[in-house]
Structure formats: structure tokens, C-alpha cells
Amino acid sequence: MTLKIPPLPAEVLFHILGFSITNTIINTWIAMVIFLCLGIAIKRHISMKPGKLQNASEFFLEQILGYFDQVTGNREKTIRFLPIVGSIFFFVLLSNWLGIIPGTGNLTYHHEFVLRSANSDLNLTLAMALVSVILSHVYAFMSIGVFTHLGKFVQIKKVFLSLKKGPIAVISAIVEFFVGLLEIISEVAKVISLSLRLFGNVFAGEVLMMVLSSLIALLVPTPFMLLELFVGIIQAAVFAMLTLVYMSTAVEIPHGSRKH
């Protein structure tokens, strides 16, 4: 029996019109179909008197809204960010859990695994991280204005204003100017950290499960599968919460720009 460790890049299964289709894309499509079916079922039968499906969905939504409220501070902000943060949470959760359903590590096509957890593909995690960070800036532009938000990063105005106030103010303004530049770097770091954290955790889980299943296939992987279920929730919550924090922070007016 050979031990096949999944490679870092997702395995290409076949091509459609010259485009490569990987096993992680298949997994993403499965998640898409599940959400589509669930969404159609919910939208068709939604009513003031909820059925079982609506009741369960509302329960989960209420729970995560409660957690999101703790970060944003109010429900209005939470609802504003819900389209992206809620989507990230549920998608990451489902795609993580899809990666541990039986068959994910067994089904092969041309000696490649047909299914692989979608978040073990850096392309997807990077795409999600980019969307969340870019949207946090879009929200900021809409909330506090383009120039106010850009002023957080390029604090050149303070340098000019400090020239009239003396040398200490000039030094302080120069320091703030460089802090602003560091903020730009931190924005890039946000994308990298978000994407690599999720990718690393899920990929490590994939490798762990694969190795354990290859060594002792019976019962031994079960606790680790449960652990992966837990990791799936944690990673979904971490990604969603960090996105929410980035968005909440971005829409806040910087201290210097407050009108008194």
C-alpha cells in the first residue's frame, strides 16, 4: 500500500475548453449546488410560521448574528456586513466539512483524488481574503468618504499642517506618515495571513487524515475526523470574525478627522 500525500497545488482532473478543472473546484461546485438547493428550498417555503428547515436556518443565523453583534457593537452594522461575512462563514464551514465526508480521500480519477477540501487550495483562500479586504475598503469609502479613508494610509496633510506648529509636531507628523505607510503593508499582510491561515489549517488536516487513513484505516481516524469538524467551525469563525473586524475598523472615522 502506497502512502499518497496530497500536493500543495490542487490536482487537475480534466480540462473544459482548455481550462483546468481541479478537485477543489469540484468541491466548490458541490458546495454551490448544496447552497443553491438549500436556498431554493428556503426561499420557496419561507413564511412567518417557519417549517423545520426555516426554523433550523433561522436558529443558526440568529446565533451567528449574536456573535457578530459582539464585534460590531450593533445589529445595524452586522446586517450591513452580513452579505459578505455570512457568506464567508457558511461557505468556509460547508467546504471544510465537505472535505471530511467519507469518499473524499478515496475516489480517484486518472490516479488523482476526485474530491479535496476546497479550502486546501490557496487560490480559493486568497480569492476570499482579497474580496474581504477589498470590500472592507469599499465599505469604508461608502461610510466615511474616499479621502478620509485614504488619509488613514497617506497622512501627508498632517505633515504640511505640522510645519506651522514647530519641530516636535513635524517629527510627530513624519512618524504618523510612516505609520500610515505601515498600514498599507498591514493591509497586504491581512490578505496573506487570512489566506495562508485557512489554507494551512485545512491542508494540514487533509494531510493528517490522509496519513492516518493510509496507516490504520479503521476507527483510528474517527477522533481526528471529529477534530476536523471542530477545526472546520473554528476556521470558518476565525475567517468571518477577522473579516468583520477589518470591516468594522475600516468604517470607523479616524480620531484626527472627528468633527468637534
Binding site: 466548490t28 487550495d121 487560490n123
Partner: protein, 180 residues
């Protein structure tokens, strides 16, 4: 000193190999980005938005119901207050009516008693008068009867039939005897 073009090429290849080893690929990145955006749209438009809308509607309905319940409770309380006021007022009026009725009943009782008394007195007077008349009539009758009896007895004694002429003569004789 600027690095040579060969060094640039080597660095670019090195960077490209790092990205490739991590699985980063422009085409796959775009695919996954589109996939993610489509899934986000599905989750938001088909799941989260309708659910959130329904939750808001239900919350609004509950808030309205609670407000209505409070209003109804207030109205009920006010109605109870008004009812109590009307009840108290009715009691006062009822007491007044009862007092008035009692007073009127008392007056009527006295009036009836007085009338009855007057009637009785009248009846008694009438009865007494009637008795007196009867008594007088009886006395007259008795006197007549007694007169007749006396006459009859005198007639028997003198064995003569008395008439007015004889009677007058006889009386005169008796009177002259008495004067002697």
C-alpha cells in the same frame, strides 16, 4: 550597482516557482474567485437575505403585538376605571332613589293611615249617629207602646172605653180630686 538582466530573470523564475509550488495559478485563481462570488451571491440572495427579512418582519410583528397588547391593557384598565366610576355613580344614584322611595313610602303610609283613620272616625260617627237615631226611634216606639199600654191598662181599670173627650173629663176630675 544594478543587477544584470540575468539576475532579474532568475529572481522572477524563482518567485514564479514559489507561487507555482503553492498551487497559485492565475486561471485557477480567477475560477475560484468567480466560484466564491457566485456562492456568496447564492448564500446572500437565496438564504441570508430572505431569512433576515423574515426575522425582521417577525420582530416587527412581535413589537407591534407587544405595543398593541400594552395599548389594549391600558384601554382595558381605563374601561375598568370608567366601569367602576359608572358603577359607583349608579350605586350613589340607586341609594338616592332608594332613600327617596323610602321617604315617599313613609309619607304615603302616613297619608294612607290618616285617611284610614279619618274614614274609620267617619264610619264610627255614622255608626253612632245611626245607633242614636235607632235608639231615639226605639224610645219613641217604646213611649208609644207604653202610652198605649197605659191607656189599655187604664181602660181595663175603669172599664170604660176612653176617648179624647172622656179622657179630658177624666183628667180634670182626677186633677180636682188631687187638689182637694
Amino acid at each position: 550597482m544594478d543587477p544584470t538582466p540575468a539576475v532579474h530573470t532568475t529572481k522572477a523564475l524563482h518567485n514564479a516557482s514559489i507561487f507555482a509550488s503553492l498551487g497559485l495559478n492565475t486561471q485557477l485563481f480567477v475560477f475560484q474567485l468567480i466560484n466564491f462570488l457566485v456562492i456568496s451571491a447564492i448564500i446572500w440572495w437565496l438564504i441570508l437575505k430572505p431569512l433576515n427579512k423574515k426575522l425582521e418582519e417577525r420582530k416587527q410583528l412581535i413589537d407591534e403585538s407587544v405595543d398593541n397588547a400594552k395599548e389594549i391593557e391600558t384601554n382595558l384598565w381605563e374601561s375598568e376605571q370608567k366601569f367602576q366610576e359608572h358603577l359607583d355613580q349608579a350605586k350613589v344614584e340607586a341609594n338616592k332613589i332608594i332613600a327617596k322611595a323610602t321617604k315617599e313610602a313613609g309619607a304615603m303610609e302616613n297619608k294612607i293611615k290618616d285617611e284610614a283613620k279619618t274614614e274609620i272616625e267617619y264610619l264610627i260617627t255614622q255608626a253612632k249617629k245611626h245607633i242614636e237615631d235607632e235608639r231615639k226611634a226605639m224610645e219613641i216606639g217604646v213611649q208609644k207602646k207604653a202610652g198605649k199600654l197605659v191607656v189599655a191598662a187604664v181602660e181595663k181599670l175603669i172599664s170604660k172605653k176612653m176617648d179624647d173627650k172622656k179622657d179630658t173629663v177624666y183628667i180634670s176630675k182626677v186633677l180636682s180630686d188631687l187638689s182637694k
